[in-house]
């Protein structure tokens, strides 16, 4: 069978909504795209632990502390699922992680913004997890089986997180003047970066068409972004807060909310490493990894010793 025949068969499967599994033939570009996307997604979960982790020690009540701890732990779990999904494509976790630490691999730029107040934890839950979910719901039907299945597990937890985040903001919005101010301020700071999470405009997104054809993605960046705006524009009313966009308004003709222009300059700056916390985030991950080297070595040495002993016993 010739290469283009494999390719045809592969595309037929995709078109027939048959999941691609690890041992199936797949085009190199498909594999590469998936590795890039899944590992980027995994890194985002892991780096995403940092901005929220920043408030674990200072959570304002024991209940919120417990919820936050559980949430950040869930993100570590998601990272684990995704690194595993990535490994089914033939790339070891260690290598994937090295790419993060070397700066070769990216992660979601949203996590390069600082969490400055407790309300930011609410805003991340509501907006950042909210944006992530729209993406992830779509990915539950992505064409690569292990990725899709990881997403199904992740989605359940994420929507829980989003509700918790909204609940933090709702509590603040019913609280003291200082709490209300804090709530609106967090929404102001997280709104635009959240919109950027869906990536560049469709007209400027290079990978989009092929990903759509392979059904890795099923909606375009702009479609998802519009869905997100429509959703938040309604939810923010429950909070008695406003989204920081004076151009935001319902468009009856489109049956969608119109919204203002995104500062793509800022977006690309943060992607390039010049966000407020890019250095800090990577430094924190590298430090955890470096500080843990002796632990991993010890665990490996111990495992080897044990294996050795058992061999001797067995002999």
């Amino acid at each position: 069978m010739q290469s283009h025949q494999f390719e045809n068969r592969f595309q037929q499967k995709i078109d027939a909504e048959t999941k691609i599994e690890p041992k199936d033939w797949m085009p190199d570009a498909y594999r590469k795209t998936l590795i890039r996307q899944i590992s980027q997604h995994a890194h985002s979960e892991i780096v995403g632990m940092l901005p929220e982790g920043n408030w674990i020690s200072r959570a304002p009540s024991l209940k919120r502390k417990a919820i936050l701890l559980a949430k950040v732990q869930d993100e570590a779990g998601h990272g684990l699922y995704l690194y595993s999904a990535c490994e089914t494509l033939g790339i070891a976790r260690e290598e994937t992680i090295n790419d993060l630490h070397s700066g070769k691999a990216k992660y979601s730029s949203i996590f390069n913004y600082p969490t400055l107040t407790w309300a930011d934890i609410g805003a991340i839950g509501w907006l950042v997890d909210g944006a992530a979910i729209l993406n992830q719901v779509m990915l539950c039907r992505t064409s690569y089986g292990p990725y899709a299945r990881a997403m199904v597990r992740i989605c359940k937890e994420e929507s829980f997180h989003q509700r918790q985040g909204f609940d933090i903001l709702l509590t603040l919005s019913n609280g003291t003047e200082a709490q209300k101010t804090m709530c609106q301020d967090a929404i102001n700071r997280w709104w635009w970066p959240s919109l950027m999470m869906f990536g560049p405009k469709d007209s400027e997104s290079t990978n989009s068409d092929q990903s759509m054809k392979w059904k890795i993605k099923r909606k375009t960046n702009d479609e998802l972004r519009q869905q997100f705006v429509d959703m938040c524009a309604e939810q923010v009313k429950v909070l008695n807060m406003v989204l920081p966009d004076k151009d935001l308004q319902w468009n009856a003709a489109r049956q969608h909310y119109d919204f203002g222009g995104i500062d793509w300059n800022e977006f690309w700056n943060v992607v390039k490493g010049n966000g407020p916390c890019n250095k800090e985030r990577l430094a924190a991950r590298r430090k955890a990894h470096d500080d843990g080297a002796w632990v991993r070595e010890a665990a490996a040495a111990y495992a080897a010793k044990r294996a050795n002993k058992q061999e001797i016993k067995a002999a």
């Binding site: 674990i56 020690s57 304002p60 502390k65 732990q73 684990l80 002796w294 632990v295 665990a299």
Partner: protein
């Protein structure tokens, strides 16, 4: 009932401060799976703290006088107790407030303390105080897992590489002075022994060594002999560390009093 309140607060403070320390690993662990594990354990311990504080708050609200100084907050709540007392009112053992240090020291602290906690809760589940008994019974299963998990790590690191062994030796050296305090009854414990409410911690020491030593042995580690004991935490006389822990932990409640979160 003041003694019961002090005792319950002591149990609560032990767990809150340990949870606060341990949870600092979340997002910074040496291995992703272990990051998850230590966070899970921190959550368990925090849950125990909440149970104890809720009970303590109940005791305060039921009593006519207010023996614990959290006068600004009425009625007493778990958060009032956790966030509105200063370090001299905290009754946790010195062991749990010690700095995390490296992974080995954190693991060792957890191993030493949860081994103690296991023996403690094992007895406390038969306390004549129904609430304490219930909290202990529920926590016992969690603690059994903490002991198992941490002992496996003590063995792995003690008998791992030369470096990991040395780090464990150092950790033992740093933490050992805080062991004796676990087994010395405070006034509030003494007062509750007769009615079989509190556990006589002095009676747990031998059993504790029986739990610890085999693990140390397998880990090729040794328990130090006759190290000078540091005490005071159970009476509210802490190391200089605790003030910093509280300043950070309590900031929101202190800065925004009378708010709901």
């Amino acid at each position: 009932t003041t003694q019961l309140l002090n005792y319950t607060t002591h149990l609560a403070d032990n767990t809150l401060i340990l949870a606060q320390r341990s949870s600092a690993w979340c997002g910074h662990g040496p291995i992703l799976e272990q990051d998850i594990a230590i966070t899970n354990i921190s959550l368990d311990i925090l849950g125990q703290a909440r149970n104890f504080y809720q009970y303590a708050a109940q005791l305060i609200n039921q009593s006519t006088n207010q023996p614990i100084n959290c006068s600004t907050i009425q009625p007493a709540t778990e958060d009032a107790l956790a966030y509105h007392r200063d370090s001299r009112e905290f009754k946790n053992c010195l062991l749990v407030e010690q700095e995390n240090g490296d992974w080995g020291k954190t693991i060792l602290r957890l191993f030493l303390f949860s081994s103690y906690q296991y023996l403690l809760y094992e007895k406390l589940q038969h306390s004549n105080d129904g609430q304490l008994a219930a909290i202990a019974a529920k926590a016992l299963k969690e603690v059994a897992y903490h002991v198992r998990w941490s002992s496996e790590w003590v063995i792995r690191l003690g008998d791992g590489t030369g470096e990991s062994h040395q780090r464990m030796v150092n950790a033992i050296d740093e933490l050992w002075p805080y062991i004796d305090e676990l087994f010395i009854n405070a006034g509030y414990e003494e007062a509750l022994l007769e009615d079989n409410i509190a556990v006589d911690v002095s009676a747990l020491k031998e059993k504790w060594f029986e739990k610890i030593l085999p693990v140390f042995n397998e880990a090729t580690l040794q328990a130090p002999q006759n190290m000078f004991a540091k005490t005071g935490g159970k009476q509210g006389i802490h190391s200089e560390q605790l003030g910093y822990i509280l300043a950070e932990m309590q900031f929101m409640q202190r800065a925004y009093p009378n708010s709901t979160w």
